[in-house]
């Protein structure tokens, strides 16, 4: 055992004199950096600022007596998510071409889920530990219980009503937004909640828009092609922050204030329009990767152009570009902080910066602690998205022909 480690070291790190020097120099720099970082995390870092400001970081200026709206949405999301997962599992089990892997024990399912979502689970656990109150624990436990129960119900539902659950997802999203935005104006949204809401809404809107643009750019109608091309090249050719600043500062002069949307809606519009142009180019790449023979085969079978696009071309095209698409969505999620900085609303990053000037913390130079927390939260979100996309790729067999 020790010998094999030694052999590995010799083969990979100390093969000759140059290698040895590089290994020692780079290795000691890395080790020192790691030591400093760990020391910061566990010894010198003063995490009180994060603990005290958790409500601010997570929900911004959200009024505390309206928190039930968020709680309700979380539990409802667990319900719908559990139901949908249950229906999907049953559908997969009854699919004619399924590969029988045998029944899976609940423990095994939980382990798989933990393996899939560990960055998010770890972050939520950390938040719960930091919060030091019972209410968030209760909420998480309730959400998990509801999700498991809904999953079991979903597995027992007759397949005929399964489509109802599929319908529940978009309806649920709209209802959630309505409920959240009901008593609390956009202006009071803040913190991570705002970043998540901006990203979720913009991703949902920009994807269909981007697909349409991609189809438009490959269309045989010249005017459609021209409009799509002009749009895509226009929005890909300008910096996002310039668009955000424009929407923030100049819009009020073009549209009467009474009908001009608030800053948050402007941010959603700009992020959607901007990302749609990139999504369009990614999807166009996917469209081009579908062999022409597929379309010809569709025509030979007498399918309409719409049916060929919808049932043959798009599924293959989008399957092929999942990694790039998810990359774009992750980028959008992170760009929501740019919107916060450009438009001045209180997203997670701004809340973290602002918290360093509170009476209890100002002058202590705690910006590093606050920013590290922001990094952790965004990393957990982005990495979870990335892992889910890899799982999706595997399931759909991307890269395998």
């Amino acid at each position: 055992m020790l010998g094999s480690i030694g052999a590995w070291l010799r083969a990979n790190l100390f093969r000759n004199r140059t290698d040895a020097v590089v290994t020692v120099v780079v290795g000691s720099i890395l080790l020192y950096a790691l030591y400093r970082f760990l020391r910061f995390l566990f010894v010198t870092g003063r995490w009180e600022i994060v603990r005290v400001n958790l409500p601010l970081y997570l929900t911004g200026a959200w009024p505390s007596d309206e928190l039930w709206r968020i709680t309700t949405v979380i539990v409802a999301a667990a319900l719908v998510g559990g139901l949908a997962a249950g229906v999907a599992a049953r559908r997969a089990a009854e699919a004619p071409d399924r590969v029988d892997t045998g029944p899976r024990s609940p423990g095994r399912v939980a382990l798989d889920l933990l393996d899939r979502l560990w960055p998010a689970v770890a972050t939520v656990l950390l938040l719960l530990i930091l919060a030091r109150t019972a209410a968030p624990w209760l909420l998480v436990v309730a959400a998990v219980v509801v999700a498991i129960a809904a999953n079991q119900v979903g597995r027992r539902l007759p397949l005929r009503v399964g489509w109802l659950v599929n319908l529940a997802i978009p309806v649920g999203v709209v209802a959630a937004l309505w409920l959240l935005n009901g008593g609390v104006g956009w202006n009071e949204w803040g913190g991570l909640l705002l970043n998540l809401a901006l990203a979720a809404i913009a991703i949902t809107l920009c994807f269909p828009f981007g697909v349409l643009l991609a189809l438009g750019r490959r269309s045989t109608f010249p005017i459609l092609r021209l409009l799509s091309t002009v749009y895509i090249e226009l929005f890909r050719g300008v910096p996002l922050i310039a668009l955000l600043l424009l929407a923030n500062q100049a819009l009020g002069f073009f549209i009467p204030q009474s009908i001009a949307p608030g800053r948050t809606v402007r941010a959603i519009v700009v992020l959607t329009l901007f990302t749609a142009a990139y999504v369009a180019e990614i999807v166009r790449g996917g469209l081009q990767s579908v062999p022409p023979g597929q379309i010809e085969a569709g025509k030979a079978n007498g399918l309409t152009a719409l049916a060929i696009t919808r049932r043959i071309v798009l599924p293959q095209a989008i399957r092929n570009v999942i990694p790039a698409l998810v990359g774009q969505f992750i980028s959008l999620f992170k760009d929501t902080t740019l919107a916060g900085a450009a438009m001045g609303f209180l997203d997670l990053l701004r809340a973290a910066e602002a918290s360093t000037q509170q009476d209890a913390f100002r002058g202590d130079g705690l910006i590093a602690e606050a920013l590290v927390f922001v990094l952790l939260v965004f990393w957990a979100g982005s990495y979870t998205m990335s892992r889910e996309s890899q799982r999706l790729e595997k399931r759909l067999g991307v890269g395998v022909r």
Partner: protein
């Protein structure tokens, strides 16, 4: 085909340009009643289009006459909320708390306006603004009033479409140094002075040192956290900002308050005042008298704690001020505010001294010029009668 496309796209661009110009003109006309700045912007961007401007000007004049019945005061009462432009991290003036509320000197004046106009100090919608956005937000009507540590200057009064009201804080730019390093500005020849970028601070330092015939190197930083690090690392000899902020920084300095000294010279006038949009006298007066209520109350010795005792006072000045009947009538000065607005401001927010003590005294700052005129300061409220 390709040539046709190119021609088409050129035509499209031209059409878009024409459409943009046309719609910009339309919008200018539409928004003229609310946004006077639009005309200035137009004349800067399109100096040769004199016809369009003349039209807009004519429209604006007719609108000015009819503006009286469309005051923001009515809009605010209808919305039952004051939208107050503020910021999120200026110690003493406006700081976001862990629960998401805003606490600070400026924020309390927003609350005073809400208490006066709506009778409830909590009916404020605080809108965080970047320094660069604050006047735009005021002009475009995104906020009703700007109370955001903003210095009243002539060009802002004139060029930014803002009307400044009674100064609620007299500040001035000063210089902070390590204790014992320098005795006065004159000792600081060739010094490195650190300031926050994006403010007038930078220019003031250069002007002041040039006036004294001294050389100076100014280092600008994005935010105060970075300046403090640079200062601790010895990269700066002096640290210049408004005295209120220097005080705040000093009280929270890691090496202790006594490690730093604020030099006696104050080399700029920074009267911080609330601002509203130009051309709306009714709303401007309402905001102004809400601010003045806090100053008047302190002069009369009325605080949030004893205001109810004063309701029974037999001093007619106090009675009129608190909206109590004098000679069978309650004074309604015709400001469009409830007759008891002073009482609401004082009982819910407090008088000027209370607000100052709540937020500014912890920064280690004396009243100085912000004392009542009777105590040798600059606070002087016109009589309420």
């Amino acid at each position: 085909m390709s040539r046709l496309l190119r021609l088409l796209s050129l035509l499209l661009v031209l059409a878009l340009g024409a459409a943009a110009c046309a719609s910009a003109d339309d919008d200018a006309d539409d928004t003229a009643p609310e946004v006077e700045e639009t005309d200035d912007a137009d004349s800067e961007e399109e100096p040769d289009e004199s016809d369009g401007d003349a039209d807009a000007d004519a429209d604006e004049e007719t609108v000015e006459l009819t503006q009286g019945d469309g005051s923001l005061l009515d809009a605010v009462i209808a919305a039952d909320e004051v939208r107050c432009g503020t910021r999120d991290a200026l110690p003493g003036f406006a700081v976001l708390q862990p629960d998401g509320t805003h606490e600070g000197f400026d924020n309390d004046f927003c609350r005073a306006v809400a208490a006066a106009v709506l009778g409830d100090a909590e009916k404020v919608n605080f809108i965080d603004l970047e320094t660069a956005d604050r006047f735009t937000a005021l002009q475009s009507g995104e906020i009703d009033v700007l109370i955001r540590n903003t210095t009243w200057t002539a060009s802002r009064d004139g060029g930014e479409g803002a009307t400044f009201l009674t100064t609620n804080f007299y500040d001035g730019q000063g210089m902070m140094v390590e204790t014992g390093a320098f005795e006065s500005l004159d000792d600081m020849d060739g010094a490195v002075v650190c300031v926050a970028s994006g403010t007038t601070t930078e220019g003031n330092v250069a002007t002041e040192f040039a006036r004294r015939g001294l050389s100076v190197e100014v280092l600008s930083f994005e935010d105060t956290n970075l300046i403090q690090e640079a200062f601790l690392a010895g990269r700066c000899d002096g640290w210049s900002s408004d005295v209120s902020q220097l005080s705040a920084l000093r009280t929270a300095y890691p090496d202790g308050e006594s490690a730093l000294t604020i030099l006696a010279e104050v080399f700029s006038k920074e009267p911080l005042a609330p601002a509203v949009r130009d051309g709306d006298t009714a709303w401007a007066q309402a905001v102004n008298w809400a601010v003045l209520a806090t100053i008047q109350a302190e002069e009369l010795g009325i605080t949030s704690a004893n205001v109810d005792d004063f309701l029974g006072s037999d001093n007619p000045i106090v009675q009129r001020f608190l909206g109590v009947e004098v000679d069978g009538a309650v004074l309604d000065p015709g400001l469009g505010l409830p007759t008891d607005f002073n009482y609401q401001v004082i009982s819910q927010v407090g008088n000027y001294g209370e607000i100052f003590e709540r937020h500014i005294t912890p920064l280690g700052l004396e009243r100085g010029p912000n004392a009542q005129w009777l105590d040798g300061g600059l606070l002087y409220a016109p009589p309420y009668r």
